[in-house]
């Protein structure tokens, strides 16, 4: 291989660039570590196996203050996932309905959906979260006098208590909350409870993201040629059948790739939980960071987790996209 050929030189340059980048990365890491040492700041991930020593308000797995830091991080991650998954489901359904409303023939529906989208996507999410949270805790009744709905749904400053499926003797049974009064003090027992923090966050994230989803769905529907609708009508399909069987399946193909972006945004936005006191990953990591002083490590963990979550979502959505894409035959 002649050294003066264009190909060899290009290869050589690329090899040099890559090794320089690697060197730069190594140097940055090394520099950070030696600076931390020089300033007497301890570093390392060993703290993950120490006892956390703090309680977490809500957890999907068994956790108390004697568990290790890594277990606290798992609790935070699960809380983040819980909000994200539920948020994605709600914003998809609600956003699709709104998107359909945007192209509806009914002027009132069109106007309302238009107003909704513009209102929700133009107010900063953080403010919306604060608003929902304050509405929930300021105007709901106290925990000892909750609002009753049909005697199986209770809403108060303490959160929402609802019936939940419980495993019992190999079968699944509804665990229905009941209102009891003991010594003149009322209390709700049984069922499953969610906190106002969780409600405000899921609700706020879903409503905000659904405004963007609505715009995507509208765009997707508009992208379906008018001839398709007319053809559907001409073979006698009703308006709803036309949407469901002809327009939406084609619109979805256009919508899926940008929809992935919205899902990723929702997952990342869930980190605003820290502002309204929901114990998500960032909130837990803040506490861990403060107690151990391992700032670089805690931030690195949080970044790695969000990156993995986002990449995972991308992979899933891309696979779905490939399945839905128009196969050229």
């Amino acid at each position: 291989m002649p050294l003066h050929s264009r190909r060899t030189r290009a290869l050589l340059y690329q090899a040099i660039l890559v090794s320089l980048l690697l060197g730069l990365g190594y140097w940055l890491l090394n520099n950070t570590l030696s600076n931390l040492r020089a300033r007497g700041i301890q570093s390392g991930f060993d703290f993950l196996f120490d006892t956390a020593g703090f309680d977490i308000g809500e957890s999907m797995v068994t956790y108390d203050s004697t568990h290790a830091y890594w277990q606290a991080f798992v609790v935070g991650l699960l809380n983040t996932l819980r909000v994200s998954v539920l948020g994605i489901v709600i914003c998809t359904v609600w956003g699709t309905l709104l998107g359909l409303g945007r192209v509806s023939n009914n002027a009132l529906a069109r106007g309302l959906c238009y107003g909704y989208t513009e209102l929700f996507r133009n107010i900063p999410l953080l403010l919306q979260l604060f608003m929902w949270y304050v509405l929930l805790v300021e105007f709901m009744p106290d925990t000892d006098a909750p609002l009753h709905f049909n005697d199986w749904l209770f809403l108060s400053k303490g959160g929402l208590t609802m019936p939940w499926l419980m495993p019992a003797d190999g079968a699944w049974l509804w665990d229905v909350p009941v209102w009891r009064t003991v010594d003149g003090v009322g209390d709700v027992t049984g069922g499953a409870s969610v906190t106002p923090e969780f409600l405000a966050l899921t609700w706020g994230l879903s409503l905000y993201t659904s405004a963007f989803v609505a715009e995507l769905v509208r765009g997707g529907i508009t992208a379906v040629p008018r001839g398709q609708t007319e053809a559907a009508k001409s073979i006698g399909l009703s308006a709803w059948q036309t949407q469901r069987l002809v327009v939406l399946p084609q619109a979805m193909r256009v919508v899926i790739p940008p929809l992935t972006n919205q899902y990723l945004n929702l997952i990342k936005n869930s980190s605003l939980a820290v502002a309204i006191g929901y114990p998500d990953l960032v909130n837990i990591s803040n506490t861990a960071l403060n107690q151990t002083g391992r700032a670089v490590e805690c931030i690195a963990i949080v970044m790695a987790v969000y990156l993995s979550l986002s990449l995972l979502t991308s992979v899933l959505m891309n696979a779905y996209n490939r399945r839905m894409a128009l196969k050229a035959r």
């Binding site: 520099n31 007497g40 403060n290 107690q291």
Partner: protein, 346 residues
């Protein structure tokens, strides 16, 4: 178009790397020199805790923690106004000090082993002996923190309070559920909206929150139990012993000034007329303590003249004539039943 980067890519890259390498360790160097050169002290304070560090409607900062900054500025630069305040949230504060963003962190910060030994910080001298307490709406009719069984309690993150709360809850089998907020304001708002049965933080902060944030302060009671020791005071970066000494001895100086009876109003008169050897030493008329610290003779006289002695500072921001209405308690002088005991200035 041939830019430098396309014509000489490798040379340019190498230069860039060298330049970045050259800028490392810019933080190192003596804080005192830096402060003198830029002619103001950068001080990390609370985002707004009345009595300790809060800005008024004109943007003027006041409080016990703020006065420590002012005293340091007066001692070092000769002018208490030469301070730039950086309001910091609880999780931000240590990083701000470690990275050199602030020279002193005077932000009602508890001294603990972890912070002192592993975070690149130095604790100086205690300006306020505090303890963690609970506040609860009076209508709950709770008389003791041990009645908080199964209660939700609002907490601010990035503090020592979360762990104390958990320890207290475990020790008394209370099963307390914390709701943790990043921002002080959010935690306050949630508590006053009724989300939590109780609010926990340092007792002095509870008094401040009740005085400033509650619609009717009388509707909230601070429970008698203190569940932890919270010695609060200013911190400095590790690795600069001279600066550590200046901040530490400024605080001790203010405390000692109260002990020997030097006030802001009398400092000039005493400097001219006093025959008391202790007073003369403190004010730089006999021994030159300033020289040992790298300052001039009158460092402490200026600090006292600017902010008053420790007792005056306390009464001005926290005392019984202020909305905070805190008693001296543990913060009285050692010879008056308190813990404030200045190391001797000599």
């Amino acid at each position: 178009m041939h830019s430098l980067l396309t014509r000489r890519p490798l040379q340019t890259l190498a230069t860039l790397v060298l330049l970045t390498a050259g800028s490392v360790n810019a933080w190192a160097g003596k804080t005192l020199d830096t402060v003198k050169q830029r002619d103001h002290v950068v001080c990390g304070v609370n985002t707004g805790l009345a009595g300790f560090g809060a800005a008024d409607s004109q943007g003027k900062w006041a409080g016990l923690d703020v006065d420590v900054c002012r005293a340091v500025a007066a001692a070092v630069l000769g002018n208490a106004e030469k301070v730039r305040y950086v309001p910091l949230s609880a999780p931000q504060r240590f990083t701000a000090l470690q990275s050199g963003e602030v020279d002193v962190l005077s932000r009602n910060t508890t001294f603990t082993l972890t912070r002192d030994a592993s975070m690149g910080l130095h604790q100086t001298a205690v300006t306020y002996y505090d303890g963690q307490g609970f506040m609860t709406p009076a209508k709950n009719n709770i008389k003791s923190a041990k009645q908080l069984k199964g209660a939700t309690v609002c907490v601010q993150s990035g503090t020592t309070t979360e762990k104390n709360l958990t320890d207290f809850s475990r020790a008394n089998k209370l099963d307390i559920k914390p709701v943790v907020f990043e921002k002080f304001d959010a935690a306050n708002a949630a508590y006053f909206a009724g989300r939590c049965k109780a609010y926990t933080t340092d007792a002095s902060s509870l008094a401040s929150i009740r005085a400033k944030e509650a619609k009717t302060p009388k509707d909230h009671v601070i429970l008698p139990e203190l569940i932890s020791k919270e010695p609060l005071g200013p911190l400095v970066r590790r690795g600069d012993d001279e600066w550590l000494a200046i901040v530490k001895w400024t605080v001790y100086g203010l405390i000692e000034a109260e002990e020997v009876g030097i006030t802001a109003a009398t400092v000039d008169k005493l400097k001219a007329e006093s025959t008391d050897p202790v007073v003369l030493r403190l004010l730089g008329k006999s021994d030159d303590t300033g020289k040992l610290l790298g300052l001039d003779r009158e460092w402490l006289a200026r600090a006292i003249g600017a902010v008053g002695n420790y007792g005056e500072i306390f009464e001005r921001h926290l005392g019984e004539k202020t909305p905070m209405a805190l008693k001296r308690g543990l913060n009285a002088q050692w010879n008056k039943g308190g813990l404030q005991y200045a190391m001797p200035i000599r």
